[in-house]
Amino acid sequence: MTSTVKLMRTVFADTVIDALDLDPRLAVVTADISATAFDEARARHPDRVINLGIREQAMISVAGGLALTGMLPVVHSYTPFLVERPFEQIKLDLGHQDVGAVLVSIGGSYDEPAVGRTHQSPADVALLDALPGWTIHVPGHPDEVEPLLRDALAGEGRVYLRLSARENEAAYPAGGTFTAVRTGRDAVVLAVGPTLDQVLDATSTLDVTVLYANTVRPFDHAGLRAAVAASSPNVVLVEPYLAGTSAHEVADALADVPHRLRSLGVRRDMEVRAYGTAAEHDAVHGLDAAGIAAAVRQAIS
């Protein structure tokens, strides 16, 4: 794929604005964050591009109500205000009502550590994973955003698209299956979304397979099994959110295969009370190249 200079957030807005003109089923619901990105679209579709002010519980409930009338709402905010604050609304006003919606977050786990814990949401994927029926995409490059989003907009399911300011050098296909970026004999390292470049850096001198995922629910069990069969049952899972979020999926995929699993991700045992940069936080969580390399070496030792 060709590279683009757009941020994931910009690709999201452009794609949705374009789709709004073509599909009268679509609606956009915001709670001030990014609302100005949709000003022109709101002028064209005032009944379907709805900014609610700073009201995140209503944001999800209104989306549920729109969906009950047959529309597909696209709901957008910063990660903690989209997933954590209105979590019961997500459970009940979308899931329990059995309606579809596309939730699109920005901010990742700690895209902007300088703004502190209130704007960090490393548990978002684990929370949605606790509810049935969610498709979860974690793109690692802006060019992956449009195909993932267009697929979601064409459906009627519950989809979470986790956008980040952090991104890889290259984009990979967005077809729901894992992509083998590199093959080797000693381990299978599964890199999710924007962790890929650090995984490639960390494993550049190692003889390991590197799989890349930009869709984690559903989890490509067959892809992981095939990679393990061709390589080694030493698995290292590298996720840009809460450590071990997909460990149960790996266990299910390899239920009949003796294997070892090391799960890297945002630490569960501490709250990092520090500001600074995302790179500095990567180092705390062992998600920098050095931390990943150490974990992979340990896994294959």
Partner: protein
Amino acid sequence: MQDLAGLFERATGDEKHEWAAASTLDVLWVLYDRVLNIRPDNVDDPDRDRFLLSKGHGPMAYYAVLAAKGFFAPETLDDWATFGSPLGRHPDRVLVPGVEISSGSLGHGLGLGVGTALGLRAQGRTARTVVLVGDGELDEGSNQEAIALAGRFGLDRLTVVAIDNDSASHGWPGGIARRFAVEDWATETVDGRDHDALHRALAAEHPGRPAVVVATVEKKEL
């Protein structure tokens, strides 16, 4: 209406929310008998009116009205809340024809109602959306988000009927209606047992703004 007593009895027993259910009985009957365009044969019609029981507690009265109006067979009430029954102590829209929302946790129906009214408006439909809440339920802060939005968006096809049986722990000094009036809702407070008064209030048009009908009933007995 006379049929309801028998239908209600089929489902009652030691139900701890019995009084809450009874508080809604007259409002529900007037809505389904005289106000709303909802029948068993139009439950999938996109232009049907929507009734959202936000206060999902004590649904026996709701079930009795739905059974009386033919949405499901009365014998369905006999084994409600058992494993194989579609009728639970809180309703599930996936299991019961005619039930518009699954409810039980308080403070969700009004937001869903605002979204429903916005969706219908976006599609150019004039169907009404009526949301039933309880006075205790209004304690939930989520309602305040929805009340403000409905007023600012001028949702004149949205009506909230608030059953006031004085069950909110800290009360609503000065009444419920003024909490809506400050957000530019049309308001009316009526006797929740007076069918003609309820009919008049619930059927009234309120151009340019949403309406709340506060239906006052006897205080909840604990």
